[in-house]
């Protein structure tokens, strides 16, 4: 997540003639599989593979896995901005650095590139980018003087390290760039929980029969005691006892918990169809004719507001 300020560096002067070689950013050993892919492409193109490692300790490993020249530099982007690479590969996690370099070099960038190849005549980089979470891939090509790609190390197999491989380590004077983003450290942060109802083991669902805020508070107490998720049916959502993402219905969440407690839910077909998977259903409703009782394992004909305090006391 290191974002460097590139404006301090001289502007690039890159044309198709003065760019050469394939550069790979290898921040740790996990990214070493990028070297394998780089080696494959470089062999077909007949150019060198340069690896940029954070310090000297990774140099040997980088050479063993396919690099010809290794450049130790704490900030890869600062090192690259002083060079004239033709191809640059970054690991997927460093996409922001890759994009910054791409804009600085006026280069095309392929994110999460698959099926990489280089066109012989135009030296364009051809690759595919997964879309819609990987449903399919969009094939793209980029023919700018510098071509940048981010690669997912998990997708590319690493070459077996060959200790006999030879390579050079080239120290370079890399300008130190000040980062304008400061990390103040770890914080305790509770993200708004997205707890999908479909994963809950126990669910306490309320409908309009809960009547008022008092009844709702009792339902919440029950949920807390049982460690249950709160949910609501359509009438409950309409009257404000639950948000849209808490809706249990065919149009909302279809749930299959161990235990489902329906409080004040009359039980229309949309709701009942959504809870068929529940292992055990308990229903509390004032109206004895409510259809929820036809599908509940245990039914209680009572107003939830009256019944809940007794239930809570019994559970203690």
């Amino acid at each position: 997540m290191d974002i460097a300020d590139l404006s301090a560096l001289p502007g690039p002067d890159l044309t198709a003639e003065n760019c050469a070689d394939l550069w790979v950013v290898v921040p740790d050993l996990n990214a070493a599989s990028l070297l394998g892919e780089a080696r494959r492409l470089a062999d077909s193109l007949g150019c060198y593979v340069h690896a940029i490692v954070p310090d000297e300790s990774l140099s040997e490993q980088a050479i063993a896995r396919g690099a010809d020249r290794v450049h130790p530099a704490p900030e890869a982007v600062a090192c690259l901005a002083t060079q004239q690479p033709e191809f640059v590969f970054f690991p997927l996690a460093h996409f922001a650095e890759a994009a910054r370099l791409a804009q600085h070099f006026r280069a095309g960038l392929i994110t999460d590139a698959r099926n990489l190849s280089v066109d012989d005549s135009t030296r364009a980089l051809l690759g595919s980018h997964p879309v819609y979470g990987g449903d399919y891939w969009v094939d793209v090509s980029t023919a700018s003087p510098v071509k940048i790609a981010t690669l997912d190390p998990r997708v590319y197999p690493a070459l077996y390290p060959d200790p006999a491989r030879a390579g050079e380590v080239l120290p370079s004077a890399v300008p130190v760039l000040e980062s304008r983003v400061h990390d103040t450290g770890l914080v305790v942060y509770q993200p708004q929980p997205w707890r999908p109802l479909t994963k809950a083991k126990i669910i306490v669902a309320v409908g309009n029969g809960i009547k008022d805020a008092e009844g709702f508070a009792l339902a919440e107490q029950l949920a807390q005691k049982l460690g249950a998720e709160m949910a609501a049916d359509r009438s409950g959502v309409d009257f404000g006892w639950g948000a849209e993402d808490r809706l249990v219905a065919v149009t909302g969440a279809e749930v299959a918990p161990e235990l489902y407690i329906a409080l004040g839910i009359r039980g229309d077909t949309y709701h009942n169809a959504a809870i068929v998977g529940a292992k055990q259903i308990i229903a509390v409703h004032a109206n004895p004719e409510a259809s929820i009782f036809t599908i509940a394992d245990y039914g209680v004909v009572a107003s939830p507001k009256e019944f809940l305090p007794k239930l809570l006391a019994a559970l203690d």
Partner: protein, 295 residues
């Protein structure tokens, strides 16, 4: 604080299926949705300003106490629809960049257009966009824009709050390419932003000076539902979305030439099901652990 939010509308994934045998995408229902993390970005913007437009003012004037949220999108009717959704949720202005030369726009072109919009509007403090774009390689627009504007960039924010950033030289570069002088002179404490991001070891707080570009993590907040009245009024008002062409943004031909061209679609191979892990329990456990680590 004046915030610019980039929106992208795309084909609803629930409306198409992939047929690997025919190597084609079959669109069953052509629905367009707002890119999910762009919605989260819009919500983050609306939470940052004191009072977004709550009701039906189609032109969004006179509210917000000096802070505005401007939504921008490139494209045609689907993008305009996304912008109207944003206006209904509370954005003050919506700008549609509609131009036939932008049909094949890649991330580089989108970045340049957005830089043009930021310069056209003049007083933008913060650019928010979604951290991931479902249907195109546009997540790189964030860092690219930060480089083009020479602003800091923070990726994948879960929460954003205004703060005073640590002492740094003000480096705003919006107006005409000159470094703008901050009213207080150099070496001051300017307005800043504190952002919570997720890193492998937990949540970290990052701070940066404004102006900045921040991408918002998907599902990091719950986008608000627009008020029914607002939806009706925004969709009825033709002036709710302002339309600009590329020429209005003073972009050069080089700015509008894509660097990445689209060649077509390809389909990854099917998942292999029913694979059995052989061997003693320890070995199976190791194999399974490797499989899990690869995920």
């Amino acid at each position: 604080m004046n915030i610019l939010v980039l929106l992208h509308s795309l084909l609803d994934p629930a409306g198409f299926t992939i047929n690997r045998r025919a190597q084609k995408v079959f669109v069953n229902h052509e629905n367009y949705i707002l890119n999910p993390s762009d919605k989260n970005a819009l919500e983050a913007a609306l939470q940052l300003i004191p009072s977004p437009v709550a009701s039906s003012s189609a032109t969004g004037e006179g509210q917000g106490g000096g802070s505005t949220v401007t939504a921008v999108a490139l494209g045609d009717s689907h993008a305009a629809d996304a912008l109207r959704q944003a206006r209904s949720m509370g954005a003050h202005r919506a700008i549609l960049i509609q131009d036939p030369t932008l049909k094949q726009a890649d991330a580089f072109v989108v970045t340049n257009v957005l830089r043009g919009v930021a310069q056209h509007l003049g007083d933008i403090d913060l650019v928010l966009l979604g951290a991931e774009v479902l249907d195109a390689d546009l997540a790189q627009v964030g860092p690219r824009l930060a480089t083009a504007l020479d602003w800091p960039f923070i990726a994948d924010a879960h929460a954003i709050a205004p703060s005073r950033a640590p002492r740094e030289r003000y480096r705003g570069k919006i107006a005409s390419g000159k470094i703008a002088e901050h009213p207080n002179g150099g070496n001051h404490r300017g307005p800043g932003v504190a952002v919570i991001v997720k890193q492998p070891d937990g949540f970290h707080q990052l701070t940066a000076d404004l102006p900045a570009v921040i991408s918002v993590a998907v599902h990091s907040n719950k986008p608000r539902y627009p008020h029914g009245r607002a939806i009706v009024d925004i969709y009825r008002a033709p002036e709710a979305v302002e339309i600009l062409a590329a020429a209005d943004l003073r972009l050069t031909a080089a700015d509008l030439t894509p660097l990445v061209t689209r060649r077509g679609e390809s389909f990854p191979p099917e998942r292999e099901l029913g694979k059995r892990l052989e061997g003693g329990l320890d070995e199976v456990a190791n194999q399974l652990a490797n499989v899990i680590r690869m995920k």
